[in-house]
């Protein structure tokens, strides 16, 4: 902060600080405080707001705890998001390793361009592309039928479709942190491991992965949070059996008209996500500041 004042002087420094503070207060703090406020108050007709029945309680949160179907969807969302993070990691790690250590600069440029171009299109449209690909009478089933892999069309919508759509949607959030981490690994480390007789697996397990741990943790945290908060992919690619918790929250707000219960549900999801993130980082022994890099 002293640095800021030294560089820009008192006036401009204060303006910058005020802008950051206003941003944090208006865009981060206020919505969250409002969400908590809504979550803890009952859903009342306008006339009763501010009246004797308008008191803080945990009843909205408890409603979720006692509602079996919502609870099941909640936990399913959590572990399915973890699964999305895991699958994305499995897809991205080999790719990131290849890009960072083996690819020529030209190959890297082309691969990264190819990976980035789809992200110039809106997420809804990208998911819609999967919606078409995975359709019952869509290209994927047609191709598999033509190849004789399957005898009759498969219903991809549901858990499999959601997993595919999300893995695709969040690939860059996993790829880039891992790529950056592995790129900073000196090539001679890998050569030394090999020279000492280590197998490919051992080299990765003992040398590359420990080095890239912060990047892997960052990618997993990003992907998990994005997946848990995702709405488009489950809405388009899901089936009634693969409902996402965000859809329930949406329904409370826009179908049920109960903003308070919706806010309570959102609050629970937020708290859970934060817990998962902090526990993951603790297990991986990574600091939050490393992730922010």
């Amino acid at each position: 902060m002293g640095e800021l004042y030294k560089r820009f002087g008192g006036g401009l420094g204060t303006v910058f600080l005020a802008l950051v503070a206003a941003w944090l207060a208006g865009m981060v703090l206020a919505p969250n405080v409002m969400m908590i406020d809504y979550a803890l108050r009952p859903n009342l007709p306008p006339a009763d707001i501010g009246g004797p029945r308008d008191v803080y309680s945990l009843s909205n949160v408890l409603y979720l705890a006692n509602e079996g179907v919502h609870r099941a969807i909640f936990f399913k969302t959590v572990w399915a998001s973890a699964l999305v993070a895991f699958v994305t990691l499995m897809v991205c790690y080999p790719l990131a390793y290849w890009l960072a250590q083996n690819a020529t600069p030209n190959q890297t440029a082309i691969a990264i361009l190819a990976l980035t171009i789809p992200f110039w299109i809106n997420e809804v449209l990208r998911t819609l592309a999967w919606y078409i690909l995975l359709a019952f009478r869509g290209p994927l089933n047609a191709a598999l039928l033509a190849l004789g892999v399957i005898d009759e069309p498969v219903r991809w919508y549901g858990d499999g479709g959601v997993l595919a759509g999300m893995t695709y949607a969040y690939i860059l959030f996993m790829l880039f942190p891992i790529y950056n981490a592995i790129e900073s690994l000196e090539k001679s480390q890998i050569e030394a491991a090999r020279d000492l007789g280590a197998s490919v697996w051992r080299t990765h397990w003992r040398v590359v992965i420990p080095h890239a741990k912060a990047g892997i943790a960052t990618g997993c945290v990003f992907t998990f949070m994005l997946a848990a908060g995702s709405y488009v992919a489950p809405a388009l690619l899901g089936a009634p059996g693969s409902r996402w918790f965000t859809e329930i929250i949406y329904n409370w707000f826009f179908e049920g008209g109960d903003w308070n219960r919706g806010a309570a549900y959102a609050l629970v999801l937020l708290v859970l996500c934060l817990t998962v993130v902090l526990v993951t980082l603790k297990i991986a022994r990574v600091n939050l500041t490393d992730v922010a890099k």
Binding site: E186, E191, D195, R206
Partner: protein, 355 residues
């Protein structure tokens, strides 16, 4: 006796670039062998070919008489010490040292024991639990050596591992490396661009330039009898004087130069009348000495180096001359700006064809 290493007509091309051309030499088992050359001369490429990181485009590599074709670095009886050392920063020292054993499936207790033995060998007892980042440059060096020796290699390949150390430590580590090599009997192939390092440590040295092997020989041999102009210039300081061969008699060639006839031992490939250069070392030049081979120079500066001083002068034709003067003789040293005469004995000079 540890394994010998034999290179037979090894060549390496990267696309259009020829990094190594037709190199053949044999490193005897248990020898301390250096490959010396400026950066980009192909010495690291040769080391990586021996280690198995590169497959040569021509020729073969035999280690212990066995053709290494198709064998990767993990399958060869070699271990490499990298220029950066490449210690694993996230493993404690003992795990670093025992990594090769871990890869071979040795049980943990035994790995620990072996690591401790090796730590003792490199005089780092009790450092096993430290992290590499907590060690000094010299200590990291020794850990790298211990890690390479842990897999009991027949041949140890060292890629300028001392280049990051300061002078004092480097000299100390030279002696240590040399002693360690004698004690373990492992064949060492040592890469360096520092000629004094190569001369001080090695049993034999191979000098390379632009991918071509110039000469292989004992340090004294390279210094006293350089086979090519490159070796004469690169190994040690030297003065080169151009001229034409006037006569060759009893192994002594006389060169007709701008400063009159000068003579030195005749190298290979000389013929009367051909262009040649006479190479004479700074320490072979004697100030104020009498004799046939005399050179007059205007002294520009005298650099005091400690044990000796180097007098830098200009000859009559503008070319440079460097003469070494022992510190004990400095009272007699020529003054700056003065003309001084230097003489040398013909056995201390070498005449090589110009090229």
């Amino acid at each position: 006796m540890s394994h010998s290493v034999e290179l037979q007509n090894v060549g390496m091309a990267f696309g259009q670039t020829r990094a190594v051309m037709d190199v053949s030499f044999t490193v005897e088992g248990g020898e301390f062998f250096s490959i010396l050359g400026p950066s980009g001369c192909g010495k690291t490429t040769i080391l990586r070919i021996v280690a198995g990181f590169l497959e040569p485009t021509d020729g073969r590599v035999l280690i212990g008489g066995r053709d290494m074709k198709g064998l990767g670095p993990d399958q060869r009886p070699t271990a490499m010490i990298f220029q950066s050392l490449a210690l694993f920063p996230l493993m404690p020292v003992w795990e670093n040292i025992a990594f090769g054993l871990e890869a071979r499936g040795v049980a943990k207790a035994e790995r620990r024991k072996k690591a401790n033995d090796l730590l003792k060998l490199v005089a780092l007892e009790g450092f096993g639990e430290r992290m590499p980042g907590e060690l000094s440059g010299g200590q990291r060096q020794r850990v790298a050596i211990a890690r390479a020796l842990a897999v009991e290699p027949q041949v140890l390949l060292l890629d300028e591992p001392l280049s990051a150390l300061d002078l004092k430590l480097r000299q100390h580590m030279r002696a240590e490396l040399r002693a360690l090599q004698k004690r373990t009997g492992v064949t060492f192939i040592y890469i360096t661009h520092d000629q004094s390092e190569a001369l001080a440590m090695s049993d034999r040295v191979a000098v390379m330039s632009e991918g071509v092997l110039q000469q292989v020989g004992a340090p004294r041999e390279l210094y006293d009898n350089p086979a090519t102009p490159f070796v004469a210039r690169f190994v040690g300081e030297t003065n080169a004087i151009t001229g034409r061969v006037a006569a060759i008699e009893n192994g002594i060639a006389t060169v007709e130069s701008a400063f009159g006839p000068l003579s030195g031992r005749a190298g290979d490939g000389l013929s009367a009348g051909a262009a040649a250069r006479l190479y004479v070392r700074p320490e072979a030049l004697q100030h104020k000495a009498r004799g046939e081979n005399r050179l007059m120079a205007t002294i520009e500066r005298v650099d005091f180096e400690g044990a000796f001083a180097l007098a830098h002068g200009t000859l009559e034709d503008g070319s440079r001359l460097i003469a070494s003067i022992a510190s004990t003789e400095l009272g007699e040293a020529p003054e700056i700006g003065a003309r001084a005469s230097f003489a040398f004995q013909n056995v201390n000079a070498v005449v090589l064809p110009d090229g």
